[in-house]
Amino acid sequence: MEPLTSVNDSPMECTSLSASAPIWQDILAQAMTGELLAAMNYISLSEICDDPAEVADALEHAEGERGHAAAFAAEGRKIGVDVTNNVDAKHWKRLRDAFLRCITERDFIGCLIVQEIMLESFAVASYSRVGKVAPASLGKTFARIAAEEEEHVDHAMSILRAERALDAQRFDDKVHRLHLDVMTTLAQMLAKECKDGHCEVCHATCVKPSLFEVSLSAAELRGASLQQYLKTLDKLGIPGEVTLAWVAQLPV
């Protein structure tokens, strides 16, 4: 478990959420785990940056992600649930390992592709959907964090576009290689049903079948995430027919 920074908790504001609180608890746990993993990734990234400005940037991002995790924990407290996290849960660990392989290779661009293009697409899309249906401050927090994550992506996009301009084929091959690793795991996480056992983040049984109770669905979160991913790849300039095939080949 990753420790959390303290936040200014407000009194419980949503007692009416008691019926759906266990569902929000699991949604928050997944979100918090993702944020903490992102924080860890940025700290790792700072260790391979040569430029002091890039180091500072990465550490600032890491702090931002920890702040997001803390915000999610605080939202849990408001509705009376304890939001746990597990960055060692099987899917999240695989995502972390994929990122660390880029770190081992001191592959700054690879790190950005994994974190900003793949993981953040998932975060931006799913937080946005949750932000639309979650009540009160819970929804606002998800929407706010989605917007902040989108800014991260925009920042990375200019670096990545410049890199692609140097050698588009080489860049696209790298994205595809990382896609096969990272997006396969994300697709398994986003599948409508967890077919290979408990995800090790949900506090009891899998939350996916219950999502309809809060006007969400696993299919919607997956669809929105993959759409966001495709649009992000479009912005990079990778041909749409290529990325369509990549996504079509993901497991369901």
Binding site: D172, K192, A224, P239, E241, V242, L244, A245, A248, Q249
Partner: protein, 396 residues
């Protein structure tokens, strides 16, 4: 499969697109087939429930490269761009969402540098009166392709009449969807050749305007918004209505009536009982020079029982690209004249684009049509698929 897609696109990255074709899949079966090709043979097909969950989220984008070759040696390179309109969202309730999807597909074509873009049947209906809603175009022009569609419908009617020994000049022609761009184009071309014309459509004012135009040329014209009052008297029926699904029932029809289903999506309901009627699918052409897809979507994007058959609307863009005439040949509604149709037919024929062999859901309708090797099996499978999915489900 993945690597072949990547390598094809890799080659394509450096080349400019002469043309782009915008379309969508008309049935879930067709959509499943497209995704199955993209997934590759080593992966299982998407189950129906997964397909219906995933497809609506796919943003408009290129699906494959399309190369076309003329009989005089000209070549043109293009892209097929799918708007990924879900097959169950063709109704008016989704019109704004669908226009946005066509706009997105148009943006893809512009980004790819396409010089001319053909809008497939339903896409052109959505955009017909809304060309100003397309993205800023730079050097890209758009055509609905309706002129060549009309050309092939008219050619098909003439051919069918010849096959059946009918005298066109003694016939009564009923046009369903008469005031649409394709319907009115067919009316202008065929009215001078037949004895009597019956025009059917929903908007009576538009019907009156079209009838007045035709009557000015001495044509005997009747109009009605009630189709049932007409159909028993017609010898030839052209169905060119804008329908979200094949749901048209002609009601009482004359024995041995010739029916051209030229709608996209198809008009005639699979449950329509028309004993003795000679039905064929209209508006289709065949490229005799050469047509290649990369990845290989042959028979998937063009689900016809004959090779290299494509809807006239899309062939118009290809023909104009082969001709090097990058101009918005067909736009708006009601501008298709016999002269323009003849001009487009000439361009198409110059490059080996001709009327496709006539067929319907049961196979070829031409007597003595010889089929290439393996085509009997293909036709059998095709006829079976057509019936089971409620009509046709092809795209290109």
């Amino acid at each position: 499969m993945g690597s072949s897609v990547a390598s094809v696109a890799g080659r394509g990255r450096t080349r400019e697109a002469d043309f782009a074709l915008i379309g969508h899949q008309e049935s879930w079966r067709a959509a499943a087939d497209v995704l199955a090709v993209l997934r590759g043979p080593e992966r299982t097909r998407l189950p129906d429930d997964e397909l219906k969950d995933i497809l609506p989220w796919i943003p408009p984008r290129a699906v494959c490269h399309v190369d076309v070759e003329s009989i005089v040696g000209a070549q043109a390179r293009g892209l097929y761009i799918d708007s990924f309109i879900p097959p169950d969202r063709l109704e008016a309730a989704y019109v704004h969402e669908n226009i946005a999807r066509v706009r997105g597909a148009a943006a893809c074509a512009i980004k790819a540098g396409a010089k001319i873009v053909s809008l497939g049947g339903f896409s052109s209906i959505l955009i017909e009166g809304n060309f100003d809603q397309l993205p800023e175009r730079h050097h890209t022009v758009f055509t609905t392709g309706n002129t060549l569609t009309v050309a092939f419908i008219v050619q098909g009617i003439k051919k069918m009449c010849a096959l059946e020994g009918r005298n066109l000049s003694e016939s009564t022609l009923l046009l369903v969807g008469a005031t649409g761009d394709v319907g009115s184009g067919c009316a202008r071309c065929l009215a001078p050749m037949v004895k009597r014309v019956q025009l059917s459509a929903r908007n009576v004012e538009r019907l009156r305007r079209l009838a007045t135009q035709l009557q000015a040329h001495g044509v005997q014209v009747e109009i009605a918004t009630d189709l049932q009052g007409f159909s028993a008297e017609a010898d030839i029926v052209i169905c060119a209505a804008s329908l979200a699904s094949p749901s048209l029932l002609l009601g009482r029809i004359a024995p041995d009536v010739i029916v051209c289903d030229a709608g996209y999506p198809k008009n005639l309901s699979p449950s329509a009982e028309m004993p003795g009627a000679k039905v064929f699918f209209g508006g289709l052409g065949q490229i005799t020079g050469g047509l290649r897809f990369a990845p290989d979507f042959r028979g998937i994007l063009n689900r016809h029982p004959f090779p290299n058959v494509v809807h006239g609307c899309l062939l118009e863009g290809m023909g104009l690209a082969l001709e090097g005439r990058f101009e918005p040949f067909s736009q708006g509604r009601g501008a298709i004249t016999p002269e323009r149709v003849e001009e487009m037919e000439t361009i198409a024929a110059r490059h080996g684009i001709y009327l496709a062999p006539l067929y319907n859901a049961d196979g070829p309708v031409q007597h003595g049509t010889s089929l290439p090797g393996g085509m009997i099996e293909r036709l059998t499978a095709y006829a079976s698929a057509s019936r089971s999915c409620g009509g046709s489900s092809w795209r290109l």
